[in-house]
Symmetry: C2
Subunit: 392 residues, 2 copies
């Protein structure tokens, strides 16, 4: 408990999600304790209460949990057994180990989602290369192979065009001890995401459906609200809520969706605040970070409606190794305004070091402003836009 | 400089204004160092970089400034000579000592404002009780006596009805070494405030004019935007900008105004973020705290427009000594939503321990929601409202 009687939320991991959750906690008066691997991590630089330790260490996690009223997670790469041990000892972990498994174990997730009638791509567990070949015989090449655990931002995903590529991958994966699954390649029209905040008792709040613009498996922009037919938005909300209930998640929970032929297919889920929800920080009645805290504390959730017609988030991906600081003034000077959210990380090429939100009444202008600000902040030349306004 | 190359803003004083400025600094990537008198002060509880020292100590201030790229202030009660010494040694203090004097020294402020043609009440420096009597002879009893320095939240202000009260006050003030001035009692219709952010070169951003609802000299509510004729709002903006230029302020700057007989009279000024600007945290394109940081860093200012038709802020004044924590859930559950901003202070009767913002499309409902949330958070029974919707 804090000196003024507020609960302390422990966050395992000290990345930018923990950093932004801490920002929201300051206003709520809620205490935050962060478990960081190094004192220079994003959240450890701004939060005064930091325990150094490893999310892989059962002893570190149990000691950490003993100092917190409730434990939540900055990322899913946390030792399962330790979380179960914390729960067994009466500690509170939100989301719990059971929900977390759906985000960590893709085979488990696909199997359970398919069983519940949720729209997932056709998939098969891969034990030998013959499984891939048989799967491709049914669904056609190319197919998508995925690591069952640990992939993110395009890592752990391989498009396989033929037997040779499949055999190479299966051999390498076996050498690394990486179990695989194979999925049908989905003809993606657009990518969407739905963010749900859920309390332990089941109360949910759903954020507006967004479009995510990906390149090379990495999210570059998020457009809120997504310009999709009402039926698609309704389906996305329904899927998000159904999964939240199915996996009994607590906290903010993201579902990434593929829009295909007018329908939706589930891509990935994340049992935590998510990059696709950063738009909420400047333009929603309640940010995803505040609602995550409210949810894990079992406090009533806040409204999720947009306060402006459009918000666009653009990620800041490092272009060089220069500090962003000298570039901030030109970005924030853009007419109409933008909000940078910087993560306090040293810049490296390709590293996600922040994001910027723009808001406005015109969808195209708002998006152009966000993209321009991101380019000014990173020094990256903006990609040419195709005539329909979508980046090439 | 921070490890990732951002400037460090030093804040003298660790109250709630420093705390909320720190919140804004996290997103901007800007470093913050706080000079606190005690480690349990509001900002010292949330900011990891705290120097313990006194704002009255020249040595503490000079040592503190040496560790910061620019120094700004949580409150005006800072040693003048030390600020001038920092400036003389090449340090940067924003706002500077010259601007600060207008907030600290009411006689100086009234004299200079009157000289510049700004609307101030009639006033006179008080050397003996005869000065008050002569002033009352011209303007009539009652008159308002004020301490020239150090008053706030109704402290340092006395309504005098007759010679006896005047004589008592002058004797007590002389004993305490408190110089006085006397002013005409203004027939206040309403109280307004205008917030200006100003960069060193003179670029300004003006926030929407707000109405402040005061009781016993303490601000209880702030209504944005103020429901006043356009001409009054224009006058308020013009006065705010004229003063900002006159005193050459840097940072956020507040002017409190009395509306009298359809005109405006200047009440007080504050050369820092201000209680009357807290509405900006949840409902403006850029909060006063972010714009204060941008201004003192000489970065471009952000837009100040409201993202919702109405926002109402209600201060949380302690009613008892109980923690606010158990009361948060019922307050944030109010339909339509509210945002608490809690200061991490132990609750004491009458102490300002936080504020709450409500936003919406209906002025009366929004105000009622903010007031209700404040009552739920503090345990204070809301005051009965008079038929015109103004609190009694």
């Amino acid at each position: 408990m804090t000196p003024d009687g507020f609960p302390v939320v422990g966050i395992v991991g000290a990345g930018q999600l923990a950093r932004m959750t801490y920002q929201a906690a300051i206003a709520l008066g809620v205490g935050v304790r962060v478990l960081a691997e190094r004192p220079d991590e994003s959240a450890a630089r701004v939060c005064p209460v930091v325990d150094l330790g490893s999310p892989d260490s059962r002893a570190d996690l149990i000691a950490f949990a003993a100092r917190c009223d409730v434990v939540t997670l900055d990322h899913e790469l946390v030792d399962d057994d330790a979380l179960e041990a914390i729960e067994a000892a009466g500690g509170i972990v939100r989301p719990g180990a059971r929900a977390l498994r759906f985000a960590k174990d893709k085979l488990h997730q696909r199997t359970e989602f398919a069983r519940a009638g949720l729209p997932v791509p056709s998939f098969l567990e891969v034990l030998t290369v013959d499984d891939i070949v048989a799967f491709a015989g049914t669904h056609g090449w190319p197919v998508v192979a995925k690591a069952q655990r640990g992939g993110y931002d395009g890592r752990g995903v391989w498009i396989l065009n033929d037997w040779t590529a499949a055999a190479d991958l299966v051999r390498d994966a076996a050498a690394r001890g990486t179990p695989l699954l194979v999925e049908a390649l989905v003809p993606i029209q657009r990518e969407l995401a739905v963010l749900v905040a859920r309390r332990p008792g089941g109360e949910c709040a759903v954020y507006p459906i967004v479009e995510t613009v990906q390149r090379d498996g990495i999210c570059h922009e998020v457009i809120a609200p997504a310009d999709v037919p009402a039926g698609i938005a309704d389906d996305a909300r329904r899927i998000g809520l159904q999964i939240a209930e199915l996996i009994d998640v607590t906290g903010v929970f993201a579902t990434e969706l593929f829009m295909v032929d007018g329908g939706l297919v589930i891509n990935e889920v994340a049992t935590r605040p998510h990059n696709s929800g950063h738009f909420s920080m400047d333009a929603c009645a309640t940010s995803q970070f505040e609602n995550h805290l409210r949810a894990v504390l079992d406090w009533p959730l806040g409204p999720t409606d947009l306060l402006t017609p459009y918000v666009v988030m653009a990620n800041l991906l490092g272009e060089d190794r220069e500090s962003l600081a000298p570039r901030v003034p030109s970005a924030i000077a853009l007419p109409g305004g933008v909000h940078p959210h910087l993560y306090g990380k040293e810049v490296r090429p390709g590293r996600k070091v922040g994001h910027v939100n723009a808001w406005g009444t015109d969808a195209d202008e708002t998006r152009a402003r966000a993209v321009r600000a991101a380019a000014l902040l990173t020094g990256r030349r903006p990609r040419a836009q195709s005539p329909d306004g979508r980046n090439s």
